[in-house]
Amino acid sequence: MKPVVADDLVKRFGSKEVLKGVSFEVGESEIFGIIGPNGAGKTTTLRILATILKPDSGDAWILGYSVKDEPDMVRRNIAYLPEDAGVYRHLTGREFLEFMAGVYGRGADCIRRGVEIANLGSALDNPMGSYSKGMKRRILLASILMIKPRVAILDEPTSGLDVRHAVHIRKEIRRFVEETGASAIISSHNMLEVEYLCDRVAFINDGRIIEVGKPNELKERYSAENLEEVFARLVEVG
């Protein structure tokens, strides 16, 4: 069984059906991108995988554990970076890394790794309330990758960041997967970023996966120069 399996996920909020049967699989050492426009269902999919939401039907398994029935076991094997996640303003970056290492039962090595990934220099000992958006994202990503989860779930990891911070974060995600053999699921509406970072991508639109494949294969299949063009053609066809 692959590390991540989503099978026919359906999710409704009131009368609105946000996910209409989402299925995909993610292999080991694979960075899997879920891309699509705002409101397509990316974040809901990731929240289900992260056990924050429960699917109305269908199920997903992380390392064989059901997100519906065994959320505690799932949480032991994942780390989740929500879109626009904030920070505890009065904790310093180092204190936050120590807190996260503590709740995951990790030691000093983990914190050292976090410090290295964040690469914030002396700012690490400043309260996180004083951090810029890019610095916040770096410390949050560091807190997630340092614990070496078997599956990292990253919702829009570089959204709204300048080039310098975005490049750093992409590099760290890639390094994490290569060094640990873990899986990563990334959502983004930045298709160029996903094309650069992901081994495979799934296009999601209006709660449905409309295409899955490797970036190069998809470009070739749709005679497109980039994934944006692929998506545009898929939507036109739909």
């Binding site: 929240r47 924050i52 505690d72 989740y80 996640a85 904030g86 505890y88 709740v103 949050l140």
Partner: protein
Amino acid sequence: MLTHLLKKEIKELLMERSILIGAIIIPLIILPLMGALTGLGMGAAISKAGAEMTIGLADLDGTNLTQNALPRMFSEEGLKVTRIECSSEADCLRAINEKGVKFALIIPRGFSRNFTLGLKSEVRTIYSIKSITVSDLTLSGRISDAILSAFRALAERVHGKSINPEFFEEPISEKPLVICLNRVVEAPVQAIGSMFLSVLIGLPMVAVIVASHASSVAATSIALEKESKTLEILLTIPARRITILLSKLLGTFVIVLLSTISFLVGFGIYGLMLAGSVVASAPRGANLETSPTFSMNFFSIQGSPLFPPILFSAIFMAMIMMTCIGLLVGILGGDVRSAQQLVGAITFPLLMPPFFVLLFAPIESLPLGVKAALLLDPFTHLFLAIQKGFVGDIAAAGISLGVMIAFTALLLVLSSFLFMGEKLITMRITVRRVREAA
């Protein structure tokens, strides 16, 4: 420019449901409701006071002045007189107690001779205070004033225009005795009233402030996680939801405990200052050194010995109840501002009506419907526990504490239920959607 900005501000704020409910709709509903309830309480208190303007008169002098003229003066002041037959002050005290009258005075032998000579006589007044409500204290004050007026009128009648102004001003030397909480205290009823008012208003006020603070801290604790978007990370760490909820409860508890300590210290200082001012206002002639009864007994009015544990338990339970309400509001609210508004909108109507109503009248004297409505409010039991605990009605205080514990347990179960599920996240979505729709 200002018009456009102002229009935008007003529209934005009014479309915010929490502000609309908390700042506009709730006051429109709750304040009239509070007015009606308080009016009922006051009405009950006033009718009770009117019915109870009866005094016991123990006449040891037995002259025409004390047997006929004085009772007539009392009647003219609206006091009904019940005669008490006795032969000495101790005998009179016993008889007064047996008759169960709330207010009495003992006219000493030789009173009429002194009075006609324009000399002040010492008249013993006895006030029996049964409950700590404004109605009883107001009644005591009114009777005290009416008695003085009756003696002034009698002095005017006896001495005519030749009356000495000083004698008219103070025709008797009142020796007040207050019977409260099964203790006999030689002190003016107004002084005891001030002391009681600190229990009646001060302690519940501390409880209200502490409890409100608890709900606010708890609501902020969760709403801040939502607003700063740290909640989702928190919910995916390998910890049970109940552990996270417990950490929130305990964290809030620690902060509120610190706040409570600071309030109690501040209130203790307030109490000392109040006691100081009461001693300063003791009647002339009441020498603290030569009147050991006054100096010792006055400060011995501290309520039942079980009162301190009951008081602390009541405040503690109120704190936990409000923390749970705060957690619920934090779960329901989308952000800190909404949560703060909501917590006020929910706790204000729960806290204020019982506070004001029970201030004016004992719950027993209220109409059945109002009484039932109040008893359904868990915070009524906070004030009842304090009041009943103070007067030594331990069973009633215990029942009130029991109701508070049951309600707290219910809130804890509800908070846990909501915290376990995805409502914690989706509630915010609902609020946003409604706001967007609006």
